[in-house]
Symmetry: C2
Subunit: 221 residues, 2 copies
DNA sequence: ACCTGAACACCGTTCAAGT
DNA sequence: ACCTGAACACCGTTCAAGT
């Protein structure tokens, strides 16, 4: 696995670093200290090397993040999807979500490209295929994929940022401050729900929303 | 409008800076040079002041961003929403989207809090109200709002990041490289669509997706 | 080919002092 | 009360040089 220099001339030293080693170290760092800790400089320190040595193996930080996403997607199990196209569409959407949900650092990558890693492309294929089998045209199927994708990205964004906020939990959230000041005449619905808002918006609605979105998408088939 | 010191003692100088002045300068900077240019240091330079002077008027950069969002939402016109609750729900979702869509720098704020500025809270009120009038329970209405919110955030994230990518358009997108290498036997649907993928995913599906999501939401009412 | 050291051009934020 | 200067603890990336 470890790439070696092709010519082992007398003066050439064996490479101390490799893309693999860098990716592994980055994964360890992410697991141990979270996304904020991952910087080129810190990573170099972790590898007992210098920042510039990394740039010999990855083009820039963006490429490193993409490589990390790729490695993560490759490791994920590829579950059998249901035969029924509707169930298949929902299941694929769920997998898409789950692949990304357990590596929250990925959100920065999400923003940087609108397409998954190659290793996750089978999910997109499954979704477009299922949508077509549900009676959508190929064009509608692509639109359906995009709508589900937007829903997924949004859910992840909000989920991750909430988790980060809870991490440094000292200061009261803007939301709490806002809801305690709600004028009941101007915002009757929100005021009526204000004390339950935190709990109502805390429970996980991803799956339910996914099913809802699919229901809407197939209604036009 | 300009806050003045209450005691104008002989030794007290008139304040050179104010929250208002800082916000205005930040808006100008954002308009002129985009989100990346907005830093506390740069902003101080623009105001012919020092970074630390800013911290006397805003707590930190997060608060500044929140104040900017608030100011933006306040300026937005508040359109009359349709009476019909279903149309009302869609229209409110559209406004929510539009308020955010024309200030792409906001995406960083979106991640940092799950609730809108106070000035945009009327949209949430309208959505929850419309959902209830459509026959949903208050709990379902909150879930409906959240699902639309996720969809909106995701659409904006992807939209903004695509626009940024096009800004520095030198390097070919990861997507293009990926799609040109697609194995037709492994990804039959995507391969069949590969040459049209760019155009199919370029057109704006926000509105259509919004209507679809609402359709799915109301199907269970 | 692979790596290092020093530098460039930045960040957000804190501290201690000035008027 | 309002502001300044200097500093702390970082960033990503480039350049020129070393073996």
């Amino acid at each position: 696995m470890q790439p070696r220099s092709k010519r082992t001339g007398r003066t050439g030293r064996p490479p101390r670093l490799s893309q693999q080693a860098i990716i592994s170290a980055a994964e360890q760092l992410l697991a141990a200290e979270g996304a904020d800790a991952l910087s080129m400089r810190r990573l170099a320190k972790e590898l007992a090397s210098t920042p510039m040595a990394l740039y010999h193996h990855v083009r820039d930080k963006d490429e490193l993040l993409l490589l990390l996403l790729e490695a993560h997607a490759q490791r994920m199990p590829r579950p059998e999807l249901p035969e029924d196209p509707r169930e298949r569409l929902i299941a694929a959407g769920q997998v898409l979500h789950d692949v990304l949900a357990d590596c929250p650092w990925i959100v920065e990558v999400l923003a940087s490209d609108d397409l998954m890693a190659v290793s996750a492309l089978w999910i997109v294929e499954a979704m477009v295929d299922a949508a077509i089998k549900c009676g959508l045209t190929p064009e509608q199927a692509v639109d359906a994929y995009r709508i589900i994708w937007y829903y997924t990205v949004g859910e992840l964004m909000v989920r991750v940022s909430r988790e980060r906020r809870q991490a440094d939990a000292d200061r009261p959230s803007y939301r709490d401050r806002t809801f305690s000041m709600l004028a009941a005449d101007e915002y009757p619905r929100l005021a009526a729900l204000s004390d339950r808002w935190a709990t109502l918006t805390a429970h996980d609605t991803h799956r339910q929303g996914l099913e809802t979105v699919v229901e809407g998408l197939l209604a036009r088939a």
